[in-house]
Amino acid sequence: MTMEHTDAVPGPSTKSSLYALSPHVKKRNAKEARFKAIGIGAILIGLVFLVILVTQIVGNGASAFQQTRIDVELTVSQEEFDSAEKSSLKTSKYRGILENALLVTIQENGIETPFTKGKDIRPLISSGAGNTLRQHLLTHPDQIGEPFKFNVLTNGTVDGYLKGRVSRESIANDKSINEAHLELVDTLKDSGVLRKGFNMGFITGNDTSDLRPEQSGFGQSMLGSLAMMIVVLLVCLPISVGASIYLEEFAPKNKITDFIEVNISNLAAVPSIVFGILALAAFIQFGGGTLGFSALRNSAPLVGGLALSLMTLPTIIIATRASLKAVPGTIREAALGLGASRMQAVFHHILPLAMPGILTGTIIGLAAALGETAPLLMIGMVAFVQMDLDSVSGFFSDPNVGMPAQIYIWATRADGAWYERAWGGIIILLVFLLTMNIIAIILRRRFERRW
């Protein structure tokens, strides 16, 4: 840019019209337009990814919330019950009873079938169905000898056939099921004996062995995650709020506090797997092994929660300090000027004003911990763990898994049904995360006060 230098007061050298854009302004406008276009492009790309993510998750996972079942009418006589209970293969006996009853049901419905023996239609029903029937009879002994309707889970392959995952071509090499079975499934579906329904078991159930995907559920891992989140909240909130208040309001500003501050920021950037191996060494090997605290053991949600706490602490401390800093100094001065002590100023005025920010930071930290998998790998929370959900004795100390770990376990299993369930688990996990974020937003909106 050049300026014409004259002895007089500088002024416009030539008259120019306001209607004609100068080359300089034109260039500037073009730059601005380009920048806007890039910004819109970036947002569009982001949106495309979001759409892909949501459609993938819903498309793959929604079917996990539906499960195929068959209505079987059966009567279990006292003799059958007694002989099954005496057998050493109890569940297989009950399964036989179910198979026979299903065949009778099919024939009574007037459906033509090439199968003549109960054993032939074994591939239709879940291998866990025998045990389900046994449990049902043990809890309802009055139904022995009486006819009743029993709703049986179908095998995962049959379920997959109705959901389009399994086809006649894909079972060509499968020895356990053949085309005749699938034809029977088609006719049973048309007659209404076999149908898909809402899969409550997926939400409340626990993990099952590789062979029974149709019986598995996400409920156990939800409990595991809940236990871990409680530990994280109880450990992190008091420690980090206390640390932040001290550092922000009381600590002298010197080299030591500077050093601590830098280290807290660094801690936030440490990879989470490091916290996992730290938890393994500190809690399980030292705390559980050397010191002998029996609750601190492999796969315990207590240890998982402590590992996640290590990871979440810096996040909450940073958020808390930021919201304490955001409280205007005039409020602090007002309280001190009235003769309040520092502690009174903090607890009567500053902390309540910073609370929405602290809570938001805490919930965001919890959400991050909820989705964290790596530390759980190190402390054995990714094993096959099956809890009896009816009698959970050690909520915090019984081996369990977390939601992301359960998803990971399912995704590594062979059967296509597990793949579907992994996606279903992701939907539940995301619903939790979304809920937590919405709560954070509501808290921020509701408790936000102007000053």
Partner: protein, 265 residues
Amino acid sequence: MYDVPNTERDTTVNDIKISANKVQVYYGEKQAIKDVDCEIQDKTVTAFIGPSGCGKSTFLRCLNRMNDTISVCRVEGSINLDGEDIYDKRVDPVQLRAKVGMVFQKPNPFPKSIYDNVAYGPRIHGLFKTKAELDDIVEKALRRGALWEEVKDRLGDPATGMSGGQQQRLCIARAVATEPEVLLMDEPCSALDPIATAQVEELIDELRSNYSVVIVTHSMQQAARVSQKTAFFHLGNLVEFDDTSKIFTNPEDPRTESYITGRIG
């Protein structure tokens, strides 16, 4: 050239409330206040005037040790309140600030109700036994703050919803509620319009009957209107301290004269 002060000039000499002796204030390496000696009388309005950055606010904040909250700030010399050194090791600044109240430049009510704002001081200092006593203290303070008639029907409303002038009078009422002996005011009218300013000034004049009031102001007219004593600060020095009428009509120091006639500052 200035308005004739509308407050009655009080020529009787009152007791000395605060006396400062060779006060030096440093912010880190920088010296903000140099060798200030000053005696502030009881039941008198004392105004501190001077250009920006002259140290008048800094000196004011020394009087109730608000500077303690700034870690790099260091105060030397002695400041006595009723003959007791407020910087003595035995003095708890919290107790001092209950005696020496402060009103700030920007109205800073707590984001609570009007009632809770005024009641906060009495609550933390335990100045009452029953709820009725507290109600009484709050009413009295709001009356002193010339705010009672305006707010008596909405004591539960948030203080942050009031106008700027009302907020500042509330802050004065809040400071008065703790029954201080000295009231420090740091440019209390700089955020207010002329009408609110007039109300606050009237209030300051009324407060004089019970308290020693020290006010920092940028407006020389205001100093002339409300104060009996005026101190002129310049570059960290207390240049001149005398009766307001003398400072504004017949200043001794040429710097004071330059400032009040608008040649420096």
